[in-house]
Every structure is written in structure tokens, then in C-alpha cells.
Symmetry: C2
Subunit: 340 residues, 2 copies
């Protein structure tokens, strides 16, 4: 059964009121607060239909209606327009991000900004290593059999790892190694390095072969496979906003999920492009987050995403406002990183 315009207007009004007041909304207060041009009784009939279709529900008989996840979905897809940011918000974003001195700083400022503006939990993924290019590889001898490998990516990320060599190595050999590795790998995307690294081993002189083999293993392991992705988190205190009504009484599962980097990456970091994604309640694949919604987007120069960022909050959130903020922040961060 189709929903006519008025029914949609009623749904929109319900979502807006519920988000604002956090209380189930009834037909009477609805007509009072919105110019629907009809009587409460009519609204009630519409509500009955909306409920039958699964867009709203009653917490108890004789309470007002509350949007369901499906209702929010319809609202987000068809009934809301992205709110333009207020000038104050724009200024806040600019001011907050100006003066960041390095990538860590950018990421931390961004995640705090996002948490503050949306009053929710914010998550920012560091620029993905897989999509970064190698700018420089530095080998620093720590002892005769130990090297520290430092990789600097064009996105500003710096990763390091200690390498235990099979045998002692001379400073000259380290210099050679450094030169070889840099010649081969500089400028290539990390995702493309595995064959290059293999080639390095194959082409190495017998003298360097042992060291190169160990080094290559570590490079592949650390930079390509392992904890290549990192995230920053802020605003967990915002979860306590709105008492315990949101999140059906327990923050536990949410906090647990937030601590699992892998989970968060899945949520935030999957975006390949800079489109905005909204996951509402049940749509979430992570059980712990069934009571939450996530608004996320990719950021980066142009339309390709270097990484993802987003916020997590109760399903009862201000979607238009949140979406606008997330997008705006992502755009600014993208520009900022492009400058480097």
C-alpha cells in the first residue's frame, strides 16, 4: 500500500518531534506543533496505517508513537533534506583544523571536533596505508643485528617496526639496503608493494640476501597485512546523554564494540569513495550496535577516499544535522590533507 503525502508528512513530524523531545508523540500534540491542517482524529488514522506498515510503533497501548528503524530509514531517504551548516559551525570547523602540525594532530583535532559538533561518539580512521604511497623508507641501526624500519607515507603516516636480522650487518650494507629499498618502493602504493618486495629479495646480492629476506618479511607483515589501519575515537561521554533511554539501558555493548578496532574499521573504513552512508539500528551487522546508528563517509582529496570517518549515536538522532556535519568535516579534512 502506498503512503500519500500527508502520511509521509505525519511520519516526518513524528520523527522530528521524537528526536527533539525523546518522548512518544501523540496525535494531539502533533497537530499542535505542526501545521498539518487536519484534526487529531485524521492523524490517528494515518498513524494506524503507518504502524501497520511498520514505520512507527507504540511502546505500550495508549502511549504515543515512536519511529521504528524502518521509519527512520524512510525519513532519511525521502523525507529529510541535509541541513546547511550554520556559519558558526563552519567557522568552528575551520578554526579547529587550522594550525594542525602533523597527521596525528589533524586526526585528533578532527575526531574531537566531530564529537563536539554532533554531540555523539566520533570515529576517524587514519589515512589507509593500503591506499597510501611510500614516500621514504628509513633504516636505522639499533645494534649490529637490529634495524628499526621507519616508513613514511605520502599521507603523512609514519609506521615503524623493529627488525631482528639473522646476522650482524655493517653500516655500509645498511646504506646499500636503504638505497635499494627506496629505489624500488618509493612512490608506489602500499597495496602494490608485495611483488616489488619479492623482486627486491630476488635481486639482492648474496651478501645482502639474508638481511633483505628478513626485512621483506617484516615489511609485508607490518605494512600490508597487520595493524595497517588505525583509528581515533572521541566523545564516548556523549553516550550518556539522554539518560539510559537510548541504547536500551546498557552502554556495555556499545563500549565494547567501540574498543574493537576491527569492528569500528568495518563500520567506518569500508567506504572506497566519499559517499555518505547511514546505518540505522538493525541494519547494523554488529550485534552490539543494534541499538545504535552510524553515519559515516570517506574523506580524501577528490572523490577517492583515503580513509573513513563518522559518528555513532542512538537511532534517535538528528540525521539531517549529523549528515551535514559529517560531510562538512570530511570535506575540510580532505582539503587539508591534499595540501600536504
Amino acid at each position: 500500500m502506498g503512503l500519500d503525502d500527508r502520511k509521509l508528512a505525519v511520519l516526518r513530524a513524528i520523527v522530528e518531534d521524537y528526536v527533539a523531545t525523546q518522548e512518544p508523540v501523540g496525535s494531539k500534540s502533533l497537530v499542535e506543533r505542526h501545521q498539518l491542517g487536519v484534526s487529531p482524529a485524521t492523524v490517528r488514522n494515518d498513524m494506524a496505517v503507518l504502524e501497520e506498515e511498520g514505520y512507527i510503533r507504540q511502546p505500550h497501548t495508549s502511549a504515543g508513537r515512536v519511529p521504528t528503524d524502518r521509519g527512520y530509514r524512510l525519513f532519511v531517504d525521502r523525507l529529510s533534506r541535509v541541513k546547511p551548516l550554520s556559519p558558526a559551525e563552519r567557522r568552528a570547523i575551520e578554526r579547529f583544523l587550522v594550525g594542525a602540525v602533523d597527521l596525528d594532530d589533524v586526526v585528533h583535532r578532527t575526531v574531537r571536533l566531530l564529537a563536539q559538533l554532533t554531540r555523539q561518539v566520533a570515529v576517524v580512521q587514519y589515512p589507509s596505508l593500503a591506499r597510501s604511497k611510500v614516500r621514504h623508507l628509513e633504516l636505522v641501526p639499533i645494534s649490529t643485528t637490529r634495524l628499526m624500519v621507519v616508513m613514511i607515507a605520502d599521507t603523512g603516516r609514519v609506521e615503524q617496526r623493529l627488525v631482528e636480522l639473522p646476522g650482524p650487518i655493517s653500516p655500509e650494507d645498511v646504506t646499500d639496503l636503504r638505497r635499494l629499498v627506496n629505489e624500488k618502493l618509493c612512490g608506489s602504493r602500499l597495496a602494490d608493494t608485495p611483488p616489488l618486495v619479492q623482486a627486491l629479495v630476488d635481486e639482492a646480492t648474496p651478501q645482502l640476501r639474508g638481511a633483505m629476506t628478513t626485512l621483506s618479511t617484516v615489511l609485508l607483515e607490518t605494512l600490508v597485512e597487520r595493524h595497517e589501519e588505525r583509528i581515533a575515537l572521541a566523545g564516548t561521554a556523549n553516550l550518556t546523554r539522554g539518560g539510559l533511554l537510548d541504547f536500551q539501558g546498557s552502554l556495555r555493548p556499545i563500549l565494547e564494540a567501540l574498543e574493537e578496532e576491527v569492528v569500528m574499521l568495518k563500520l567506518i573504513g569500508e567506504a572506497e569513495s566519499t559517499t555518505t552512508r547511514v546505518l540505522i539500528g538493525d541494519e547494523n551487522e554488529i550485534d552490539n550496535l543494534r541499538a545504535a546508528s552510524v553515519v559515516s563517509t570517506g574523506y580524501g582529496p577528490g572523490a577517492t577516499a583515503l580513509g573513513g570517518l563518522g559518528v555513532l549515536g542512538p537511532t534517535r538522532m538528528d540525521y539531517p544535522g549529523t549528515i551535514a556535519t559529517v560531510r562538512a568535516v570530511a570535506r575540510y579534512v580532505g582539503e587539508l590533507l591534499a595540501q600536504n
Copy 2:
């Protein structure tokens, strides 16, 4: 008025029972669960004295007694002995920390381990830069007017920062800069570098002076003054353990405090030595943490602390067990870092 041995035994019993059950403890159940050798009435008299002295209190008339912060303090100082760890716990610690590949890894594993063993929120400070020595400084040209400075400390910490030079610089000059900086600074403690950095500027050739001045500013700013300290956090979900009884109903202030690195550093990182500190409730200077207790200690090779670590939980916590765990973990981490 002094407290005789039996009164102290009563206090100990009250603390132990309350920590275990989380319910106010009465005189009758007390004599049932502990071999005090006296009747409930006698215990009641003792309790009256303990209450008068401020060691315990009644939530309401006619409920059992609950320890006050002062009571916990006395318990920790005089009535409890540090529990030896179970073999299982020792094994868990070893297993958890073996196989860590770099400092980040060590810190993350440690903080997770601590959270898991104590079932509380764990905080681990990265080895303090101020107390680290410079192992190597690397300068990587990003463009003709930009350098990335990477500092590697003997503790394994790696910090980087982008430097915008006043004018273009040649690769040869970069090499010279790198050599000069390393000759001067390698091996010295970061806290001692400011005069050395100044000397570098003074001694620089006219050609390098401009670059060196900028570089020195950045070095001082980034490495000595600014975000020199970092922390890792884990186990926030443990705050929800024990319902909302702990933390007087709101996690808000706790979560807020946990997000403030500065606050956490003050709490965890002040220790200069590897002695254990216990802060109970009110003793805490941070208002937001008035309902929490913190057990912290320094870790490092020998008795000098490289950094601090600790846990935060409700005042109603198992102090002997927590103290033992925190100490044991700190010792292992210290050993682990000494190996590098």
C-alpha cells in the same frame, strides 16, 4: 581514640564482604561469614565506634554498613596484604606480552591485559619522552622547502613532525643538517636537549643557519614541550560492571575524565619511581573522579620509571588483587622494555 584489633578485624571484614557482595553488610551476616568469635551485638558496638570515627557509614538508618573512603584507606594501608598472583595470572601476563613486535604493540597489549585481569579501566602511559634518550634523528625531504623530522628514542618511541623551512634546501645541506643534529643530540636525554639545540643554532654555518633555526624551534616545541606524552586506554566497558551502583549512577564524569589525556597523565604519569600509589575516591584531586579509585605505578627497568600505568575503578574494588596485578604487569613491562 584508638581502634583495637577486633575493631580493625571488623572493618576488614566489612570491606571484604562489601567488595564481594556489593551490599551493605550487617552485624549478623558478618559474624556468620567470619570467625570473629564474638556475638553480633558486640560487633554492633564496634561498628558504632567505627562509624563515629568515619570509617564506615549507613546508607540509611537500618541498613548495613558500607566503608567510607577513609575506611578503604585504612584497609589498604594497614589491613590488607597484597595477594600473590595465581599461576594462571602469571602465565597470562607472560603469554600476553611475548611476541610484541614494537612499542605500540607492547603498550596496546599491556593496556588490554591490565583491563582484562583487573576487569577495570586500564591506562598505560607511553615511555615518557622527557626521560628517553635520542637514538637517532632522521630528516626526510618532502619537498625543497619541507622536511619531515623523525625522532627515534631509545625506548622505542618514534615521533615525527613536518617542518616548513624558510627557504629551499639542497639534498647536501639536508645531509649536513642530519649529521650535525645527530652528532649533537644522539645519546642525550630529551629533557637535557634544549641547551644542545641552542648550541646547534649558534654553531651552524651561515648557509644552514636559517634551516637550523626553524628545525630547532620545531624540535623544542614538538619533542620537549608539546604533546610529548601519550597514553593508551582500554576496558571502558568494565565501567558498566556492577550496574549503576558504582559511580553514583552516572558514567558521564568518568568518561569525560578518561578522554582528557592531561587528566589521565596527571593521575598515572606523575610517578618518578616504581612505587605503587592508591588514590581512593575523595583523595582524588579531579572532581570528575571523586567516585572512583586509581591504582597506579611507574614501570621501567630498575627503580626509575619510564612511564606510568594503572587502573581506574569504583572505590568498591578489590584493592589487594588490583595492586598485585598492577605491580606484576608493570614489572613485566619494565623487563620487556629493558631487553630492547
